[in-house]
Symmetry: C2
Subunit: 286 residues, 2 copies
């Protein structure tokens, strides 16, 4: 098994059973050790060591994030006027402490969802946070809406010892990474891996294996990492999706992960599940 | 690897690249072999052999489902007045031909999503089908909304050769099945498996392994099947979620799958991924 990707792993005790009990949540707001998350320009705020910042409870923050060793943790909804660019805060990940990453991810995903889901999709009326902020309820049509977590497949296709990696147009110069795409309604994970590799690179694959998964709060995806074996190395690249895609040998991938001037490409950063997949592949633990 | 669950596997060629080209889709409506899905009371209609029913194109059905061996397949949106009960059509699965199951699942999931997402969640205005029905666009605020596919973990916890199965209140009499729950924002698949088993059954697990996945159109989930090892067999059952949960030996599971009067419980039906997981477990192929 690959190691846990960044963002995965134990965060706060979510205490889901309390969400249906508004009186219990209200009482926790008065708990002596209760704190609420500090936000800065639409993202959780970090101190100079990369730890999440917390402050005393002010008013009635609607998101109940859970317990940190018995101490309740809440959050307000960040100012809705902040830009909705999903990647606006990705630079924070270079600083973020890995132990705070699960809580950062949960809070930012949830805030991103509230920011774009103020209205009821059934009837159009304004909705209200409900269940400690883990749903929104419509006072008009009674619909209840739950946060989205969109499954995305991200995969290493392999052919005779070489790996397929691609470049999206928005990547930094020299970056190559795993191909990826959203799982669509009516597809299994394995179906989506095969379809995306066919669409973006023109290859047929078999023997699709799940490796690991990662919650990704830009804005709110579940990244599902997999490995697939390609029947051929003949590529037909979809230039609407990718600038380029190429096969890399194990030696080239090792050199890229080692970095330095001889690196044949720039690998994805440590917080990307694509990096976890590459590290796992070169470790030969498949 | 377990076999493909019901609903998974190859369906229509989705031809995703055409969705951004309204003129191409409009031209396909005039294709000599184009057909559109027949709906009956909010679900795809089946003939007496369990095959999907298709009819000649009428008007401009907004959903482009893809190609069946080069022949375009479309669908209208079913009447919005039909009941939104997610399980209203589950009885159809006893008849549905397995080869038509992926298309049934994609069409029903997509229709379920359109039915509950007529309004823009950002600004509340009515939206319009876009990209051949694979998104909805807001003419007011320009937001584009994509169909949901909600990841759900469903898992067999094992302790010293016995499996944990539970009963939800709405199950038919005698039914026991795998425990399950939605993956929440900020969680990996493995995190969600551990949290749900702790919440619903009070057990700590380790060594979580993915097995297989299934698109589930009631209303639009991605079922993610896994196996976990429990540290202890001491249960604390959440009676708000489950009527009961018990450990079953391999012999009991085998007897249940064999059916008949001596069956210790009624297993989930063949179209449920929980059945695929049980079949896989008794085959000992883990």
């Amino acid at each position: 098994m690959p190691p846990d990707p960044f963002f995965a792993g134990e965060g706060l005790d979510r205490a889901d059973h309390l969400r249906a009990d508004p009186a219990a949540i209200a009482a926790l707001l008065g708990h002596g050790d209760a704190l609420q998350l500090v936000w800065d320009n639409g993202a959780p705020s970090l101190d100079e060591r990369g730890k999440l910042k917390w402050q005393d409870i002010s008013g009635e923050p609607p998101l109940f994030l859970g317990f940190d060793q018995g101490a309740p943790r809440f959050s307000a909804l960040p100012d809705g006027s902040t830009p909705a660019n999903a990647y606006a805060h990705i630079h924070l990940l270079a600083l973020l402490d890995v132990r705070d990453a699960p809580t950062f991810s949960a809070a930012l995903s949830l805030a991103n969802w509230h920011r774009r889901h103020g209205h009821c999709s059934v009837c159009g009326r304004m909705t209200e946070p409900n269940r400690g902020g883990w749903s929104r309820a419509c006072p008009n049509c009674s619909a209840e809406h739950y946060p989205r977590s969109d499954p995305v497949v991200i995969m290493l296709a392999e052919h005779e010892g070489r790996l397929l990696l691609g470049r999206q147009p928005q990547y930094p110069e020299g970056r190559y990474s795993a191909l990826a795409g959203f799982v669509e309604p009516g597809e299994s994970i394995e179906d989506a891996v095969a379809r995306e590799l066919k669409e973006e690179a023109g290859i047929e694959v078999y023997d699709v294996h799940y490796w690991c998964s990662q919650p990704w709060p830009f804005p709110s995806s579940l990244m599902i990492g997999a490995h697939a074996t390609a029947a051929s190395d003949q590529l037909i690249i979809d230039k609407n999706e990718l600038d380029d895609a190429r096969w890399f040998s194990r030696g080239e991938v090792l050199a890229a992960l080692a970095g330095g001037p001889a690196a044949p490409f720039q690998p994805p950063p440590k917080w990307a599940i694509a990096r976890t997949l590459l590290d796992h592949w070169v470790d030969g633990l498949k």
